[in-house]
């Protein structure tokens, strides 16, 4: 059975060949412990990691390679940023489309009485979806919720359940004017949409290595602006100042206790190189084409509803009246078609989009999907409809 992979928002597959080769080379040839020894294997591993820092810094227009801090994944990076920067009494604004990786740590801090937060709406149901693209309206909604103790705006660039994305440039400029920290979850946009930390006034950006950046699972990263150094989330070995009881002050080591996943970082480094050879405009156009193709086909089926169809991009979510999303996912899985169903760890987003019980069926595209993949999915859904009669 041929597999059709349409779950790139969870993790991209396949990876470019250069990524597999880079991981293999690392494991086989130079997988010493980076930043610990000074023998050739350790130095070679450290060299690859620094190369990746430099590439990521260039890619996101960060001030220097030292501003790149590797983490286990984007969730870890977000937790580090949120818990390491916010202080007792702070007030925070998050969007109504946040992933649980933002909402849960914020909610935890609020439940513990350390901070307070409000949610700013980016859209009011499908009928108002066009407004999500109106930066002025979104900034006005943020402004209406500002308090004297508001310290940060935290939001995802692109939702993980649809292709709506927030206007980072305008929100960043707003935060800059109001002296607010601007922290961005780029889990779904890194590698899909252009991001310029400096032009967008982003203080902290978090992303996984294994989604749009085309690395393998095992590492994520935070890109820090020059005015923030979050407190540590965990402490441990850092490879230097080891007689001190406290973690060192210097970035990136301050945020990188323990051994880094060199093979995953080597893969990410190759992924960034691949993206540097790829025009992001072409990637976005390709994903929009696939979105449009699927949307047109689903619209032709009775009882199917696509969420925010006017927001074309890498992710499309739909539901079918009368059939729970997980049953559709199960049917498709038997046909070798990989999609993700349910609530996608995005309680706020599902509430905002008013999905039915059981959530929705998410189809997420990547660079290597082809129109035929959409047609096979559509064919399978039509078969399912026939079999139900």
């Amino acid at each position: 059975m041929n597999m059709i992979y349409l779950d790139n928002a969870a993790t991209s597959f396949p990876k470019p060949r250069c990524v597999y080769e880079a991981v293999d080379r690392c494991i086989c040839n130079y997988c010493g412990n980076p930043g610990r020894g000074s023998h050739p294997m350790a130095l070679a591993a450290a060299d690859k990691i620094y190369e990746c820092r430099e590439k990521l810094a260039n890619y996101f227009h960060a001030a220097s390679a030292e501003q790149i801090v590797f983490t286990l994944n984007a969730t870890y990076a977000l937790n580090w940023m949120i818990k390491g920067l916010l202080r007792p009494g702070d007030h925070v604004l998050i969007s109504d489309m946040e992933h649980n990786a933002v909402w849960r740590p914020i909610e935890r801090l609020a439940r513990d009485g350390r901070i307070s937060y409000d949610v700013f709406p980016t859209m009011v149901g499908e009928e108002d979806a066009r407004l999500a693209r109106n930066p002025t309206r979104i900034c006005a909604r943020i402004a209406a919720r500002l308090k004297p103790q508001t310290r940060a705006v935290i939001c995802s660039h692109q939702s993980n359940i649809c292709s709506a994305h927030l206007p980072l440039s305008e929100i960043g400029a707003f935060c800059h004017r109001h002296h607010l920290l601007f922290l961005v979850d780029a889990s779904q946009s890194a590698g899909h949409l252009p991001i310029d930390m400096q032009a967008m006034h982003i203080d902290g950006l978090c992303a996984p290595g294994h989604k749009g950046m085309y690395g393998i699972q095992g590492c994520g990263f935070a890109v820090l602006g020059e005015r923030i150094v979050p407190d540590t989330l965990i402490e441990g070995g850092s490879g230097y100042a080891s007689l001190d009881a406290a973690m060192p002050d210097l970035l990136p080591e301050r945020g990188e206790a323990g051994t880094l996943p060199t093979p995953a970082i080597a893969g990410l480094c190759a992924g960034v190189s691949y993206l540097n050879r790829t025009d992001l405009t072409d990637v976005a156009a390709h994903e929009r084409m696939l979105f449009r193709r699927l949307n047109e086909r689903l619209q032709s089926l009775p009882n199917y509803h696509v969420y925010l169809p006017e927001h074309e991009g890498s992710t499309l979510m739909f539901h079918r009246d009368g059939i729970a999303a997980d049953k559709i996912g199960q049917y498709l899985a038997h046909r070798g078609i990989c999609v993700r169903t349910g609530y996608h760890c995005a309680a706020l987003g599902h509430k905002t989009l008013r999905t039915p019980d059981g959530g929705g069926v998410r189809v997420s595209f990547g660079l290597f999907n082809r129109p035929r993949d959409v047609d096979v999915l559509y064919g399978a859904l039509r078969d399912m409809e026939r079999e139900m009669k």
């Binding site: 930043g35 030292e66 060192p248 990136p252 080591e253």
Partner: protein
């Protein structure tokens, strides 16, 4: 024991900078000015435990000081190195 290969002008110095990442930045800054620099462990020089530095020909000391200062790399100390081979 490793031999100390003396350069033509006074041997080898180490700029002790602290972390591996700081040493990598220093190394790249020096290499871009065509100054050979190797990353070495300098634990015994730091006073704070594990540490890294860059070893370079002592003949380049003035240039190295200028370059590392210009690139805002905090050098904790410069020390003679009888062990590095450049």
């Amino acid at each position: 024991m490793r031999s100390n290969k003396q350069t033509s002008n006074g041997g080898i110095l180490v700029a002790v900078v602290g972390s591996m990442t700081a040493a990598q930045r220093a190394q790249r800054a020096l290499l871009s000015a065509a100054i050979r620099a190797d990353i070495v462990k300098s634990d015994s020089e730091s006073g704070r435990g594990c540490s890294y530095g860059v070893a370079f020909p002592a003949s380049q000391q003035n240039n190295v000081r200028t370059i590392l200062s210009a690139t805002h790399i905090n050098v904790r100390r410069y020390s003679q190195d009888a062990w590095s081979i450049l």
